[in-house]
């Protein structure tokens, strides 16, 4: 079964979840941070969508004040997708609900986004750095991150 176009998906979601504010930007469904959890739950549980597989979770840094988290959802049961869901967060303090309780596979991807972009996922079971080591300072995929100068002379 084919997935409806994103505009119809938005209308359908608005009917199922009265009170959520959704918008469409290009191919993406833009969700406000507080609505993310019900929208994701609905996309997974409603049989018509059946988006049971989180294919990808990543972030995009838009300095100076925006940080987006992007979700790509597919359906294994109905063989359709992907659907792009996007949330905009304030760059200074990006906090968003974790989707790990909904899709178990989000755990490591959220840890990676936390490690490299500094987005905190509330309700994540084990939010630690995954690629960089414990004790590393900063989030290197942020556009204003300046890597160390490895050639700087060591103090003797």
């Amino acid at each position: 079964m084919m997935l409806p176009p994103i505009e119809e998906l938005k209308t359908a979601l608005e009917q199922l979840l009265p009170g959520v504010s959704l918008s469409v930007d290009g191919h993406a469904l833009v969700v406000t941070p507080k609505d993310l959890e019900p929208v994701c739950q609905c996309l997974k549980e409603t049989e018509r969508f059946g988006l049971d597989y989180l294919a990808n979770l990543t972030a995009v840094d838009y300095p100076p004040d925006r940080m987006d988290v992007v979700y790509h959802l597919c359906s294994m049961a109905q063989k359709h997708g992907p659907v792009t869901v996007r949330v905009s967060l304030p760059r200074a303090n990006p906090v968003i609900a974790s989707v790990t309780p909904i899709w178990r596979g989000a755990e490591f991807q959220e840890r990676e986004v936390y490690d490299l972009y500094g987005v905190r996922f509330e309700g994540h079971p084990d939010l630690r750095r995954i690629l960089m080591w414990e004790g590393f300072v900063g989030h290197p995929m942020r556009k204003d991150y300046v890597p160390e100068d490895q050639n700087a002379p060591e103090a003797a």
Partner: protein
């Protein structure tokens, strides 16, 4: 003491073979180099294909890749050395038996390669351990790796066994993880930062502003 080449070949024609202890030992040593079996990134794929039947590193006596550093005498650093992997690489080197050799295979192991300006990659394994042969390329072809191996064989042959044993490498300090990278950034005993590096964007010397009054 070296035997005169001309005399040696004359004697060989008559069926008399002369050699020296060093030549004999180094002939054996250089033709049975056992590499440590590990790969770090895409270069390792070329190393694997060098070991496979088509390029057949066995022709040079190096087909026995050992999975234990205790049984290996050559470390082929094949691929990107991330900062997170560096302590393990140095530790493996420390655990190898003397006399031991290092081939830095590819742009990454030599200088950080395509990741030179990144935040997570070491700009060359020679910052922590001494490297004998550098192989350029991204990745180097199997032929290039074999050439590097032949260069290493020449290097082994050029040095008496006693001398090679005498300058034992010993233990090199294993770097620790710091807040932005490894601590220390390099081992001053094996590597010193270049005072001027043409390709290092962070250290490009700025032109001095002309002193007032000097003609342009």
């Amino acid at each position: 003491m070296a035997v005169d080449e001309g005399l040696r070949s004359e004697l060989q024609k008559q069926g008399v073979y002369v050699t020296t202890w060093d030549q004999l030992v180094n002939w054996g040593r250089s033709n049975s180099i056992w590499p440590l079996q590990f790969g770090l990134a895409c270069c390792a794929i070329e190393m694997i294909s060098t070991a496979a039947s088509r390029y057949d590193i066995a022709r040079f006596g190096s087909e026995i890749f050992r999975a234990s550093p205790r049984q290996a005498d050559l470390m082929i650093v094949a691929g990107t050395v991330t900062k997170k992997m560096t302590p393990q690489v140095v530790r493996l080197y420390n655990q190898m038996a003397d006399p031991k050799y290092v081939i830095s295979m590819g742009a990454c192991a030599t200088s950080g390669g395509p990741f030179h300006t990144g935040y997570n990659v070491l700009k060359g394994i020679d910052r922590y351990i001494p490297v004998d042969v550098y192989i350029p390329g991204c990745p180097p072809t199997p032929q290039a790796l074999l050439e590097g191996l032949m260069k290493l064989q020449e290097r082994i042959k050029s040095r008496g066994f006693g001398a090679a044993m005498a300058d034992r490498q010993g233990e090199y300090p294993v770097p620790a993880f710091g807040e932005t990278g490894l601590k220390p950034k390099y081992n001053p005993e094996v590597w010193q930062p270049p005072t001027q590096h043409p390709f290092d964007y962070q250290r490009v010397p700025q032109p001095k502003p002309a002193a007032p009054g000097t003609p342009a």
